[in-house]
Structures are given as C-alpha cells and as structure tokens.
C-alpha cells in the first residue's frame, strides 16, 4: 500500500511540480498586494493547496521510509512514525487554513 501510493503520488508529482515550479520561483519577491490579488482566486490557491499537500504526503511517505531504515529500536520507530504523521497532518491543516483565509477574506469580507 505504502509502495503503491508513493509511486502514484510520485507520478502525479511530475506534472504538478513542474507546473508549480514556475509560479513559485516567479512570485518570489512579489509585493503583498499583487500576491493577494493572485491567490484570492480559488482556482489559483486551490491548485497551490493540492500541489503542496500532495508534496507533503510524498514527503511524509519518504520520511517514513527513512525512519524504517535508520531507526532500529521498534519503540523509537513507532514514536517517530507517529510524530511524522502528526507533523505532516498539522502542516497540511495549517496550509488549508491559510489558503481558506486568503480566499475568504479577500473575496467576501469588506474591510
């Protein structure tokens, strides 16, 4: 299962990472307003969310493999795997909240 999911996400990462390498390196150094203008669109920020969370899942699975290879005591291994899950899940949750906040506040909330 782990093996299969990792291959599927890896294959998906080929187009996703290439498509998003461009905006992420291009938007580096942009001003706040122009970025908000861009990412207030649900399509832009939604796709950024998909790409970044797919990357986090890919990262989580990769780290799991590293832990399985290099952490030898089974107790430490279980703990590290749980920590790995919590961190990656937490990061995806934070990303979701950020993206949702950007889209919501800049489309429907009149300041």
């Amino acid at each position: 299962m782990h093996w299969f999911v990792q291959r599927v996400i890896s294959a998906a990462m080929i187009p996703l990472s290439l498509v998003f390498l461009v905006p992420f390196s291009y938007h580096y150094n942009f001003e706040y307003e122009s970025l908000i203008d861009l990412y207030r669109s649900p399509i832009w920020s939604g796709s950024a969310f998909v790409v970044l969370s797919a990357t986090m899942i890919h990262f989580r699975l990769g780290i799991q493999e590293v832990i399985e290879d290099y952490v030898h005591s089974s107790k430490m291994k279980s703990i590290s795997l749980i920590v790995n899950d919590i961190i990656s899940g937490g990061v995806i949750l934070c990303l979701f909240i950020s993206v949702a906040k950007i889209v919501y506040e800049n489309n429907w909330v009149v300041a």
């Binding site: 291959r7 890896s10 294959a11 990462m13 080929i14 990472s17 290439l18 390498l21 992420f24 390196s25 291009y26 580096y28 150094n29 706040y32 970025l35 908000i36 990412y39 950024a48 970044l52 990357t55 986090m56 990262f59 990769g62 780290i63 590293v66 290879d69 290099y70 030898h72 005591s73 089974s74 291994k77 279980s78 795997l81 990061v91 934070c94 990303l95 909240i97 950020s98 993206v99 906040k101 950007i102």
Partner: protein
C-alpha cells in the same frame, strides 16, 4: 508491521563505512535531496501562512526570505529539486522493470546528473532573467 519485527534484522548500509561508488552516492543523494526539499516546501507553506496573516507579517517574512543564507538555501533547493526530479523519474522507470542492467544503471545515472545540471542552470537563468 510496526512492532512485529525483531531488532536483529539486517541494517541499512552504514554510510560512514560503505565505500562510496557513483551509483551509491546517487542513491543516497536522492534521499538527502528529498529530505532537504521537505524543508523548502515548509518554507513555501510558511510563505502562504504569512500571506494569510496579513501584510505586516508578510513583509517581515519577506525580509527573512531575502536574507543571503535563505537565498542560498533556495538556490540549492532548486538544484535539489531537479536532481530529485530526474532521479525519481529513474526510480519510476526501474519500477516499471526497465533499464535494470548494470550498464544501463550507470548510463542513466550520468543522464540524471547531466539533465539536472542543465535544468538547474536553465531555471536559474530564467528566474534571474525575470528579475
């Protein structure tokens, strides 16, 4: 499953005593670049977090991102990205069962190093050219 295995199972090759070969260095670099790229992804996610928190936070974060050390990290992540990209592609081709013979493995390793260097330089020129 976790906990079922005993603690005596064979260990991974110890990097410190394993004699480096071209292919083994390729393999461990794939893993190292993967872990390091995780840090850059976290930076991008923090960037979104700062964007969501508001202009003051975002500007502070931008000053941090323009620090020379962070810029060096981002530049290295660009190389790491291309390396991990092509080495990952090589892994996927292996998983399909192709190019597993020894001479092919060595050849594809050279291709990966070559392509990742070219693409890295290309993106650096494009990104610098935009500025």
């Amino acid at each position: 499953m976790i906990g079922e295995e005993n603690d005596n199972r064979p260990l991974s090759p110890h990097l410190t005593i394993y004699r480096p070969q071209f292919t083994s260095v390729m393999s461990i670099l794939h893993r190292i670049t993967g872990v390091c790229l995780g840090v850059s992804v976290l930076l991008i996610i923090c960037w979104f977090g700062a964007l969501a928190l508001g202009e003051v936070y975002f500007n502070t974060f931008n000053i941090l991102m323009n620090n020379g050390f962070i810029k060096l990290i981002l530049l290295l992540s660009l190389w790491a990205f291309w390396y991990h990209f092509f080495a990952g592609l090589r892994h996927l081709i292996w998983d399909l069962g192709y190019a597993l013979e020894f001479q092919h493995v060595k050849f594809s390793a050279v291709i990966v190093v070559f392509l990742s260097t070219i693409c890295f330089l290309g993106t650096v020129f494009v990104v610098v050219g935009i500025k």
